[in-house]
C-alpha cells in the first residue's frame, strides 16, 4: 500500500519503521535526518501518487493541524480514508468540521503505543466507516488487530494512563514520596509494567498534558485538571 503520514515525528517514525512492507510518504517540514530512513518526505501534496491510507498523528488540535487536514481533504481522493489521532479530540468533531464523516477513522496514537498487540480505533457518529476494511488489513499486516470503541476524547488507554500519571505527579508535588519511590511502589505493590513517572516521560509530558487539558475542557470535570508540576515537566522536559 501507499501510506501517507503527518504529525508528531516520534509517532510517525514508529509507524514508518513498522510498515516496511509498504511505501511510506511523510508530509512534514522537519529535517529529513529526523525521519526514519524508510520515510519518503514530501513537502507538497502534489508530489504524491494515489494514497491508500492517510494517517494524521498530530496530538493537539492546533491551527497547523487544521490547515494540514484541510489540505489533505482537498488534495486527496474522496474515498481515501483519513486515520486521525483522537487522544485530544473526537473523530466526530474533526469529521464534521471537515465534512468527511464517512472517510475518517479515529485512532489512539502516542509514542510507544504501537508496541501493543491491539490498536484502539473509533468512527465518527453516524459515519459509514468506508475506510474500515483497508485499515484493518494494514493492522493485520503489522501482526496486530483493531479494537473498535465508541468515539470519545482520550480513547481508553491514553485516558486511563494520563490520569494515573497525573496522580503520580500530584503525589510528587505534594511531597508524598520521591519520583523513584513512587515508580518502585507501583511496580512492586500492584505489578504495574512501568512506573507512572517513567511512563509519563516515555509518552511525552507535553502529550500527557494535552490529553488531560482536552479531557478537562471537553468533559468539563475537574477530576481531569492537570497537576501544576506536570505543566512544569511539559515546559522543561521534551
Amino acid at each position: 500500500m501507499n501510506l501517507l503520514f503527518t504529525g508528531q515525528t516520534a509517532i510517525v517514525n514508529e509507524w514508518v519503521a513498522a510498515c516496511t512492507q509498504h511505501v511510506c510518504y511523510v508530509y512534514s517540514r522537519v529535517e529529513k535526518k529526523s525521519l526514519h530512513k524508510n520515510a519518503q518526505r514530501v513537502l507538497s501534496l502534489d508530489e504524491l501518487p494515489t494514497i491508500d491510507l492517510i494517517f494524521d498523528f498530530h496530538v493537539r488540535v492546533s491551527k497547523k493541524r487544521r490547515i494540514i487536514l484541510r489540505d489533505l481533504i482537498s488534495e486527496s481522493d474522496p474515498m481515501t480514508p483519513i486515520v486521525t489521532n483522537t487522544v485530544t479530540v473526537t473523530a466526530t468533531e474533526l469529521a464534521m468540521w471537515l465534512d468527511a464523516r464517512d472517510r475518517m477513522i479515529g485512532i489512539a496514537a502516542l509514542p510507544s503505543l504501537l508496541q501493543a498487540g491491539l490498536l484502539e480505533i473509533s468512527f465518527p457518529h453516524s459515519g459509514k466507516q468506508h475506510g474500515r476494511p483497508k485499515l484493518e488489513q494494514l493492522v493485520e499486516d503489522l501482526g496486530k488487530r483493531c479494537e473498535v470503541i465508541d468515539d470519545e476524547v482520550g480513547m481508553i488507554f491514553p485516558r486511563i494512563i494520563a490520569l494515573l500519571i497525573n496522580e503520580a505527579v500530584l503525589s510528587v508535588q505534594q511531597g508524598v514520596a520521591t519520583v523513584d519511590d513512587i515508580d518502585t511502589a507501583m511496580q512492586l505493590g500492584v505489578n504495574y509494567p512501568e512506573g507512572p513517572l517513567a511512563w509519563g516521560a516515555k509518552l511525552g509530558w507535553s502529550n500527557v498534558l494535552s490529553i488531560l487539558q482536552a479531557l478537562h475542557a471537553k468533559l468539563g470535570d475537574d477530576r481531569y485538571r492537570p497537576a501544576s508540576l506536570l505543566k512544569k515537566f511539559a515546559l522543561t522536559q521534551s
Binding site: 503505543l113 481508553i156 494512563i161 518502585t184 511502589a185 507501583m186 512492586l188 512501568e194
Partner: protein, 290 residues
Amino acid sequence: MSDEGMKFTNTGVIGSGTMGSGIAITIALSERNVVLFDISAEIVHRAMERISGTMHASKERGRISTEQMQQAFERITPCWTYEDVAKAECIIEAAPESLELKKNIFQNLDTVCDRNTVFASNTSSLSITAIAMTVSHPERVLGMHFFNPAHIMKLVEVVQAKWTNTTIVSDVMTFAKSLGKTPVRVSDTPGFIVNRVARPFYNEALRILEERITEPEVIDRIMTAHGFKMGPFTLMDLIGNDVNYEVTKSLYDAYHQDPRYRPSFIQRAMVEAGLLGKKSGQGFYSHREP
C-alpha cells in the same frame, strides 16, 4: 551479620489475621523472634495452624528449606496478653481498620512497653499521626504498610508521621530490607502511594463504563495489551468490589470530596446488589463453575 542488619531481634505482631500472620512469617524467616498476639488463645492458635500450612506450602514450592521452615515456626510465640509483647523492640500492629480499635491497642501497648519500643501500624487508610498522638512519645510511631500476601510481596511503605523521629524511620527502612523487602519512604497522607496513585486505574475505567464507551472486557483487553497483568475489571472482581469501593470512598472523604477521587455509581450499585466479584460468584464477570 552486622548490628545494623539485626536490629529488632525481638519483635511483636498484634493481630493474627491474614496480614498479621504473613508479617509474622516474614519476620521469623529473617531469624528474629516474633510474639504473635491476638485477643484469645483460641484465635491465635488457629492462626498458628494456618501459619504452619502456609510455611509448608512455601517449602513445597521450594521457597524455603525444611530446616528454615522448622526454625522459623519455632521463633513465633503465640500470646493473648499485652504483657507478653512488652519485651519486643519493634511491634507491628495489623488489626482491623478501625481508628478506635488501633488507638486502644496502642494505648494498651504504651502501658506495658518501654518508651523506646518502636510502634508500627500496618494501616492502609488511617492517619499514622492520629494514631501516634494516642501514645506517650509519638516520635516512635510510624507506619509499616505491607502488601498481601505479606510474606511474598516485596513492597513496604514506611510512613513517616508528623512527629516521627527520622532515625527511627531509617532504622525501620534497614529492618525492612533485612526482611528481604523493598521499603519506600512515604509521608503520612491518605492512601500513601499505592492506594492513592492506583485509584484512576479503577475509577477512570468505571467512568468510561458509565459513559457506555465500551464494555469491561474490552477495557481489560486494551489495558493488558499495554502491559498490565490484569485489566481493571478483572482486578476489581479479584480484590472484591466491596473492598475496592471502601478504599475509594475512604480516599474521597479524606480529600474532602475532591472530584479526582469520586466513586462510581456503578460500583456502589454492584456492592449493594452483592455483585462483589470472585468471592460472591458474580461481579463484572461471572465466576461460577459452568
